[in-house]
């Protein structure tokens, strides 16, 4: 990976050597919340995105007090280097990364290739919970420049002032299906936000789960008119796949104004009277 900001990725080799170093905390975040219990990197903690990385009462990202508690209980303080990894090419690891950046954590990295590469390389797994000494964590004020809300997306559609990137699968983009196969449907209409470009999130990654090269990524986005010269908003179904695309555009390509619209299709596709484009 030739990234513009290379200190956001670590290799599986690096993790194998440094996972239990002082000042480093490796955390697994999976789509399948049971995956951690099936074996994880020795010393890694596990976070459940359905209960620990969101507000469980209203639909929102994790509240600041809950995040501070989670990080403290995971043995993380403000100076800790957090290394995230997960299944599905780091899909939910990127979701955690995005939220940690919103709350201003300095040193967060993603293990390139995620759980898939670690498993394929036959590396050690453990089913033991790590021994963790609790720490105190103080989050910064939320950086909302990383997050798009509905009014901003509506304004972007009306004024064409931001590029919209739909990272869902082609079948979701065209409205052939309302949710990925095997997952519950959570919206009333299929299709996409008018003017959005279809760049499925999986195209960011190689077969082994690692991110594609800087040049490959730059060319892929440029081919759809996404160059970083104007603001970009990424969205998917619930905001997690698009957080990976946000990570790529913001931290691997170095685009300045990139936001993740976590309301995504489950918000837009349920709005009464919202414009929908098909295919």
């Amino acid at each position: 990976m030739t990234a513009t900001i290379p200190n956001v990725l670590v290799t599986t080799d690096w993790v194998a050597q440094h996972a239990t170093d002082t000042g480093v905390r490796v955390v697994e975040v999976d789509v399948d919340t049971t995956a951690y219990d099936q074996g994880h990197i020795p010393g890694a903690a596990g976070w459940n995105w359905t209960t620990q990385l969101c507000d469980t009462l209203v639909r929102d990202i994790v509240p600041v007090n809950k995040l501070e508690e989670l990080l403290g209980n995971t043995g993380i303080d403000n100076k800790t280097s957090i290394v995230l990894y997960g299944d599905n090419n780091n899909w939910f690891a990127a979701w955690a990364f995005w939220q940690l950046k919103i709350y201003g954590h300095e040193d967060v990295r993603i293990m390139d290739g995620g759980r898939k590469k670690w498993l394929a390389e036959g590396r050690d797994l453990s089913t033991d919970a790590p021994a963790i000494q609790k720490k105190s964590y103080k989050a910064k004020t939320a950086d909302t420049s990383l997050r798009a809300f509905l009014p901003e997306v509506q304004a972007a559609v009306a004024g064409k002032k931001a590029g919209l990137v739909d990272v869902r699968s082609p079948d979701e983009f065209t409205g052939k299906i309302l949710a990925p196969p095997g997952l519950p449907e959570t919206c009333q209409r299929g299709g996409h936000i008018p003017g959005a470009k279809s760049i499925p999130w999986g195209k960011n990654c190689n077969d082994d789960g690692t991110f594609k090269s800087f040049d490959e990524l730059k060319a892929m986005y440029a081919a759809q008119g996404i160059t970083g010269e104007t603001p970009v908003i990424a969205y998917c179904r619930i905001g997690e796949r698009s957080s990976l695309t946000w990570f790529v555009m913001k931290h691997l390509l170095g685009f300045e104004k990139v936001k993740n619209y976590d309301g995504s299709w489950t918000e837009w596709g349920n709005l009464v009277g919202a414009a929908v484009e098909k295919p």
Partner: protein, 74 residues
């Protein structure tokens, strides 16, 4: 512990391409099924043998996939 007998294969279930991933850790075989596009794991099972874990996971996956509807795109 190191995972053993790790395997990944693509098969078609209920008209959808899925990836079946299996490995053994200790005495237990773990199997997960993910849709190929976008790649979300949506069914998993454990078993004492690879065949048992895979057949149980595939049975669950088939049930979930049968609930996925296809809509006209125009």
């Amino acid at each position: 512990m190191k995972p053993e007998e790790h395997s990944r294969k693509q098969i078609e279930l209920a008209g959808w391409q899925v990836t079946v991933e299996t490995y053994k850790l200790g005495d237990v075989y773990h199997c997960t099924v993910a849709n190929v596009d976008p790649g979300a794991r949506f069914a998993r099972a454990d078993g004492a043998t690879k065949e048992e874990a895979e057949s149980r996971a595939i049975e669950k996956a088939t049930k979930y996939l049968a609930q996925t509807r296809r809509f006209p795109t125009v």
